[in-house]
Subunit: 337 residues, 2 copies
């Protein structure tokens, strides 16, 4: 029995066609030494402090310059573990396919999952596929849930930050969101726009070696750097952040496209950038460690933890003034991840 | 800031409205002693053999007699762990909400998740919410990923089955699928149709106490009993199943509705029924253990493992003939779970 060219409703029925899709396409692409049988659940061994995170990807379009929903599904979830100081180990994958989605595109997305999992050193060990009627989905939606092992006893938390701590960023901001927007709208805003989608664990591990001098890390995805910086101090009654706008690394292509579209690069989603707060004395070492990686080559300090504006992020703007950098409001880019 | 009545795209932006939805609705309903901070990942402690499973729920309609997408999302995933002899411990929850979905319905679904999690003794410890534009979703889709602890060293597998083993079913078949269909089409096929959606772990645990005499368990969800029975022997070169159609417990309401609609109750999805294969000598004890539970009151033996038709399920029909009970083919009910 040959696979058809497009997904049909019966692929979600639990009957013969569901089984064919799983056995002839999904499982052969993804199987590995931990996923050797199609059972209801899969065993893994773990001990001590284990971390778990879940994310659903609804990115539109599912294929874009620099990645696709498969790379995003793997790296995005692994990065959520990495910034919590966990080594990503296992992933589960739940698909919602829309009737009519091309089987060739499904294969391409699955192959991206496989390659990204290899690069991030994780294993996909459980999966599920549902099919929804045409007009009730977006081609392909993918949930991945990640399990990781804690790197050590030191637990990162925004509660660890202290006055004078340095705020670092691991790389240039804004490329993921703009690449998606350009691909979706077929905008001619520069072919140089590519998603920064990448695994962050090696960089996070390098910072974790700083011990207690590393306070907190978070990847700057939906809502961009602005959202993450706000989340770092929003619950604090003592500390705020003083951030320097011109210190953010930003590529020429992103700056030009954001300017043209009237978007603030600090509010645009990234998929390979994180914010770290470290002790002031460790800031130079931390930046040097990040710069040892290709994707960390532009890492730098962007600000300082202060006590003047508790709970707020204050931005020193390019023209020298100061303003509150708030959580992004209003119509941002939907379906960016 | 008051929550609006309906989901809007900005609830998925990662900005202020995303945060409001999470902090004012989702997290307050679901938080528990393991989920005390809104971080990228959540820690849990585990040791030894841990099991994981994932499932996405796209049921239409999301609310139906006997349950809703929230109860289904909890019990369905916990049941996949239970039949693999794991005690469900933790769940993650990923939501895909469609623009325009009523906030009151979201609240109702989340409250069902909370109540079902209490009943199944699991904790929701990580979550994610995405929003898709109107016409790109189905109101609410929910992925849950479950983590459980192995009950012991004995690993259940269809590879354990032996000639003469008894095939048991835990309860009456067909009610979930028909309840969904009746609710979706507003069919007047009997108000007695209610989903059997229920947690199976206590029953599975009771059978696991039989030790090596318990060979294999699987819950009869999509594709119904027919799919599960086939999956039990399809890979076997030695064993097949001989099943007696009239031995299946079935309620009058299900029999009448299935007859009216021309559906085979053995192919209809269940959400609170599983198949178990046990040693012949342990069959009576196993049935007695199942019958100690309300939802197991109708448990019984439905057949035997034989060697005459390897890899096949042979059904002795109501009129006395024999036929192959195949994997369901053709147009089954879509979006049943």
């Amino acid at each position: 029995m040959k696979l058809p060219e497009r997904i049909i409703l019966e692929h979600g029925s639990g009957g013969a066609l569901s089984r064919q899709l799983t056995e002839q396409l999904i499982y052969p692409v993804l199987k590995n030494e931990h996923y050797t049988e199609l059972n209801d659940a899969t065993a893994f061994h773990s001990s001590g402090r284990t971390l778990i995170t879940t994310d659903t990807y609804v990115v539109d379009p599912p294929f874009f310059p620099g990645g696709d929903i498969g790379t995003l599904g793997v790296f995005g979830t692994c990065n959520d573990l990495a910034v919590c100081a966990a080594r990503p180990r296992y992933l589960t994958m739940g698909l919602v396919l829309e009737e009519g989605f091309a089987i060739a595109d499904l294969r391409r997305a699955l192959e991206s999952v496989r390659e990204a999992a290899k690069r991030a050193e994780v294993r996909v060990i459980s999966g599920d596929t549902k099919v929804v009627p045409s007009g009730k989905g977006g081609g392909i939606y993918m949930n991945t849930t990640g399990v990781g092992e804690a790197l050590g006893e030191h637990i990162l938390s925004s509660g660890n930050i202290r006055g004078g701590d340095a705020v670092l960023i691991s790389g240039p901001v804004g490329s993921h969101g703009l690449a998606i927007l350009a691909a979706r709208e077929e905008l001619k805003i520069g072919s140089a726009l590519r998603s920064d989608c990448a695994p962050l664990f090696p960089l996070c591990e390098a910072l974790y070696d700083l011990g207690g001098d590393l306070r907190f890390m978070r990847d700057a995805t939906r809502g961009g750097a602005a959202a993450v910086l706000n989340e770092t101090v929003s619950a604090s009654e003592k500390y705020g952040l003083e951030i320097v706008e011109t210190d953010f690394p930003i590529t020429g292509a992103v700056a030009a496209a954001a300017d043209l579209l009237g978007l603030n690069p600090l509010e645009i989603a990234n998929e390979g950038v994180f914010i770290a707060v470290v002790a002031d004395a460790a800031a130079d070492r931390a930046v040097a460690r990040l710069r040892a990686f290709d994707i960390g080559a532009k890492a730098c300090r962007i600000g300082t933890v202060g006590e003047r504006w508790p709970g707020k992020v204050i931005l020193e703007t390019a023209v020298g003034g100061k303003r509150i950098l708030d959580l992004p409001r209003g119509l941002l880019l939907p379906r960016i991840c």
